[in-house]
């Protein structure tokens, strides 16, 4: 990753010194206002090393929520808790596998929501920022999420990995000088000193070059297209078909991937989906995708990922001790979780 430091660092130092005197709104007011647009999300997880919670941001007054796509969303029910403590069941509308973003919907109206501005100049190196997230899950109910202050250190393409896998998104991100990369932070809001949304806090990733944990946010310029793509049903295509493929796109939800070698049991099947029509059922254990035998959930997604869009997705499952072959229909374009 190339680091571009700018004269903005100087500007930001000067701005800190007069933080309360030069701004027309106080940081306290900005934080209080923006926090109303941030939600706490609870889903799958809770085991060692994998949290069952993260953060989301409200992007419409009628309950659209943008968050990071992660195993937390691998749940039948995703709990969404608003800033005032109101609790809703959130529905997964869809995911953008390339940007690793997900769109959720709750049945609520008249909410305070962020505006997604398409403006590449919103933040540059040196811009003072505030990150809002439910890191470490410290806020519950009507308690306000964590506010951290920092500076945009660089705007650079993301070169990161999670474990051995390369992160799918390689566009420009805001690299931050504060530790926002914590359990529960993904999906949080990055705002400027006036409370405008600058980006969404990314997933926990390490730099490919240095191995250090990266504190970064995906800029608003990426959020609009992600939302539009997911909402219109045209999932943003992955530029690499060898990427894992998520069977949720065919209506099959596998058990949450929480172990090193999670056996690929089917958690649930969406009624009316291709998987449902093919006869896939809860508790089926997938043992082969096409001709490739699989023993883990990751292997299922990798094997399915090697199919070209349009290829038939054939699964072999074990149900009550019997082998059953199923064909779920053609593989949709793109798609990784």
């Amino acid at each position: 990753m190339r680091w571009r430091y700018g004269a903005g660092i100087l500007a930001s130092l000067a701005a800190w010194a007069g933080a309360t005197s030069v701004a027309d709104v106080t940081p306290q007011q900005v934080i209080a206002d923006a926090t109303r647009k941030v939600v706490k999300l609870y889903g799958a997880g809770g085991l060692r090393g994998l949290e069952g919670y993260q953060t989301g941001i409200l992007i419409t007054p009628d309950g659209q929520i943008l968050t990071a796509s992660s195993t937390v969303l691998d749940a039948d029910e995703i709990d969404c808790v608003l800033d005032d403590g109101r609790r809703y069941a959130a529905r997964l509308v869809g995911i953008d596998p390339r940007r690793e973003l997900a769109l959720l919907q709750i049945d609520a109206t008249d909410l305070s929501a962020f505006v997604i501005e398409h403006n590449p100049a919103l933040a540059t190196p040196g811009t003072r920022v505030i990150a809002l997230s439910n890191m470490f899950g410290v806020a519950a109910g009507d308690e306000r999420v964590t506010a951290q202050r920092g500076v945009v250190a660089a705007v650079v393409p993301l070169e990161a990995r999670r474990g051995a896998a390369e992160a799918p998104f390689q566009g420009a991100v805001y690299v931050l000088d504060c530790t926002t990369n914590n359990p529960g932070s993904p999906g949080g809001a990055l705002i400027d000193s006036r409370g405008r949304l600058l980006g969404i806090l990314g997933k926990e990733l390490r730099s490919t070059a240095a191995g250090v944990w990266l504190n970064y946010a995906i800029p608003t310029n990426e959020l609009g297209p992600a939302r539009a793509g997911i909402a219109s049903g045209t999932v943003v295509p992955s530029d690499d078909t060898t990427r894992p493929f998520d069977l949720r796109l065919l209506g099959a939800l596998l058990v949450p991937d929480m172990l090193e070698r999670t056996p690929p049991f089917v958690e649930s099947v969406e009624p009316g989906s291709p998987a449902d029509h093919a006869g896939l059922a809860s508790d089926d254990l997938v043992i082969a995708v096409g001709s490739a035998s699989v023993t883990t959930r990751t292997a299922v997604e990798r094997a399915a990922g090697r199919l070209a869009p349009g290829d038939p997705v054939r699964l072999t499952v074990i149900r009550a001790g019997r082998l059953i072959d199923l064909e779920l229909g053609p593989r949709p374009a793109g798609a990784t979780p």
């Binding site: 309360t20 940081p27 306290q28 890191m135 506010a147 914590n182």
Partner: protein, 578 residues
């Protein structure tokens, strides 16, 4: 650490900015010389920040616990009282060495402990003019407030000058579950100022340089034991409430209501379990009652309930507001302790199985104490350092003595009850008498006082008044085994959530009764609680003068009943009652 500072310096593009940034941070003179265009307001803000950091640094204490590491502390009085964490002093024992930013080392002695709240009070010796800071009202802190920590992270301060880390308040009223230990952080302040190992016990300051908390904990997970942007401080308001108990040389305990609460499906906070032995039960609290407020703060979640309770010392009386069948009820409840005395002693000594070789707290000191510490340390079971209990008791005794007029004869108080009926009270060395419309009661002042809690229904008002006279005339020594309990709200019915308006409390067991006396800072006894047996509800008397210097008023309660309000119209001899 090296990585952080070396990498950017070696980068050619970075160098000029770093130099400029350093110049900007160093002194305002350099700034005005090189950047004369900087807004004067910015420079003024910077000067103020430099000044508050200087005053915070001066009060910062580096605590050394020998081979076991150490931590930080912060001076809160000119005579050397400093707050720190229990987990910092625990390995150090009774005596420790402390360093200040002036570069000098001072002997220090343990004063009091709050193991549950992870707080300890120590006293630095040798000066009466230590630099110190005052405690802010931490309930006024808001997310986004600027703050800084002064302490000794990674024990870097070999010259004893503390390290400063600045940031903002990230969250308030945070509840942190006990993490593998009993150290429960309730109602704490979360900050993004770097809190690292060694910062423990050090001060967290606001933009005015006042103390808003004691840094004690941070979220450390998969990144190792270094700051990841979430540190937690024990709030100044909690510290204020425990300060009396800490100064009493005690091992303080936290409060429990004797009831647990849970969130109902509709979001109400309801009583899910309650001990029938608890004061709350005796005051009428029942299963499924909705808790609305505790100790003057609203309760809207289980965490909020735990937050309020966690900041309160055992033994305090606080208002509790609950709702049942749409009816709102406010009662005063006496909070019990979370632990038994044996449990507390065990906590402090590190528990069974751990050897006590290094002056294990609460246990016998294995290593000989330094000479200077000998004079200020007295071991006694149940106390961190009994010496300071005597110090506080004697201070209160002196305050009472300045008020006493030494009239040893009979005191006669006469006046009217709130319904207009007349009363008369006579108190002497030999006898107490109270004449009420309902009858006359007499109590032998030379015999046991517990046999006859008169007047009937008062729980022992006459016994309490006899002890009041004796304490006023002769001081605590006359009552025998009197100790300093700590501080408590002057009027629990009008409790200040910030922990203000506290009075000293003396505790005594004499002539078969247990009594507590609240003494204000002018040495006036302003409240008496007297119990004739451990199970009985006490007789509670509030002594006040509504309207400055106005007539004396005695408000007497027993259980949930108001026994009477006594408006004293004449005192004979005049002026004997302070």
């Amino acid at each position: 650490m090296n990585q952080v500072s070396d990498t950017p310096v070696s980068h050619p593009q970075w160098r000029p900015y770093l130099a400029a940034a350093l110049a900007l941070l160093t002194t305002s003179q350099v700034v005005s010389a090189t950047h004369s265009a900087v807004d004067p307001e910015v420079l003024a803000a910077e000067r103020q920040r430099v000044e508050v950091i200087r005053s915070g640094s001066a009060a910062a204490v580096a605590i050394f616990a020998g081979d076991s590491g150490g931590g930080s502390g912060v001076l809160v009085t000119p005579d050397g009282y400093a707050l720190t964490n229990f987990h910092v002093v625990q390995p150090a024992g009774v005596a420790m060495t402390c360093g200040l930013a002036d570069g000098r080392l001072y002997e220090a002695v343990l004063v009091g402990l709050d193991p549950t709240g992870d707080v300890a009070l120590v006293k630095l010796l040798g000066r009466a003019d230590f630099p110190c800071v005052s405690l802010a009202d931490s309930d006024r802190v808001e997310p986004g407030d600027w703050c800084f920590a002064a302490g000794n992270p990674f024990l870097l301060a070999t010259d004893l000058v503390p390290s400063i880390s600045a940031g903002i308040v990230s969250g308030i009223h945070r509840y942190q579950e006990p993490a593998g230990t009993i150290l429960e952080y309730t109602d704490c302040i979360q900050v993004d100022a770097a809190i690292n190992p060694g910062n423990s016990g050090g001060g967290l300051f606001d933009a005015a340089g006042e103390l808003i908390g004691i840094n004690g904990r941070a979220s450390f997970e998969k990144r190792g034991r270094v700051n990841v942007g979430a540190g937690y401080a024990i709030s100044a308001n909690q510290l204020r409430k425990f300060m009396g108990c800490l100064r009493a040389g005690r091992v303080c305990d936290h409060a429990t209501l004797g009831a647990t609460v849970s969130t109902a499906a509709d979001g109400r906070v309801v009583v899910s379990d309650i001990l029938q032995s608890s004061d709350a039960w005796r005051r009428g609290l029942q299963y499924d009652d909705e808790i609305l407020a505790l100790a003057g703060r609203p309760v809207r979640s289980v965490n909020a309930f735990k937050n309020v309770l966690g900041t309160l010392p055992a033994g305090w009386q606080v208002p509790l507001v609950y709702r049942r069948d749409g009816r709102r009820t406010e009662v005063l409840v006496r909070l019990a302790g979370v632990h038994t005395q044996a449990e507390l002693t065990n906590l402090v000594s590190g528990g069974a199985g751990e050897d006590d070789q290094k002056n294990g707290l609460g246990g016998p000191a294995a290593a000989p104490l330094p000479e200077a510490i000998h004079e200020v340390f007295t071991a006694r079971p149940g106390y961190a350092n009994y010496h300071f209990n005597m110090v506080e008791r004697d201070r209160v005794a002196r305050a009472i003595a300045t008020r006493a007029l030494g009239h040893g004869g009979t005191w006669t108080l006469a006046g009217r009850l709130s319904d207009g009926a007349e009363f008369r009270i006579e108190l002497s060395d030999s006898e107490g008498l109270i004449d009420l419309p309902t009858g006359t009661s007499v109590l032998d002042a030379t015999a046991a006082l517990d046999a006859n809690p008169v007047p009937p229904g008062s729980g022992g008002m006459l016994a309490a008044l006899l002890l009041w006279r004796r304490l006023t005339l002769e001081g605590p020594a006359a009552l025998g085994g009197t100790s300093y309990l700590g501080t408590a709200p002057r009027d629990p019915r009008r409790l200040d959530p910030a922990g203000g308006d506290l009075v000293d409390v003396l505790e005594t067991a004499v002539a078969g009764v247990e009594a507590r006396f609240a003494v204000d800072d002018a040495g006036r006894i302003c409240g008496i609680d007297l119990r004739t047996s451990p199970e009985a509800d006490p007789c509670e008397i509030q002594i006040s003068r509504p309207g400055a210097g106005g007539p004396l008023q005695l408000d007497v309660h027993h259980g949930i009943e108001r026994f009477g309000t006594f408006l004293v119209e004449s005192v004979d001899p005049a002026g004997v009652v302070p």
